[in-house]
Subunit: 103 residues, 2 copies
């Protein structure tokens, strides 16, 4: 496996739910892509003992973290500490592509 | 602290060495920015029990991971597993901005 990966080679879509691809994974960190077509959603959920971040690469998403819901576009990091409910929905007209990490 | 951060508000520079800013930090994950002006370098080093990734946001860098050295630009993830020496130098003419995570 190469230590260098361009995310654009991993972008994809599914009709029934959002698309996920793994970039790298260790016992400490999972780094991946989440791709949401317009209208697709990752329902609000939480991880008891894992922190998660989203970093928006393309498009825009409506992110919920705890009791806050905000739209975020390219260049924005969204942080959900362990135990904090989080999710995202693509209410836009273009694909939402997110770099995602869980530690 | 907000759970939403645009990295562009944290970009900076130092004359003497590369610039670092922290986006988020927990006991499991440090997420930050590394900004290297042309000619600046993060010398090759390693972390015995921490995995690290770089994700290039702006500019281009010459990254070393283990015995491999490659140039990487925006959209490329560079992965350095625990114990693997890694570093980066900016040999270009524009600022190199990297999203960096250590888990």
């Amino acid at each position: 496996m190469s230590n260098f990966t361009d995310y654009r080679g991993l972008v994809g879509q599914r009709a029934d739910k959002h698309y996920k691809a793994t970039l790298y994974q260790s016992e400490r960190l999972l780094l991946g892509l989440n791709c949401l077509e317009p209208g697709q959603e990752q329902h609000v959920h939480s991880h008891d003992d894992q922190d998660k971040f989203y970093f928006v690469l393309e498009g825009a998403g409506e992110f919920t973290v705890g009791d806050e819901t905000r739209s975020a576009g390219p260049g924005v990091t969204v942080w959900a500490a362990a135990g904090v409910p989080h999710g995202v929905v693509n209410r836009g007209s273009e694909r939402l592509v997110i770099l995602m990490g869980i530690a």
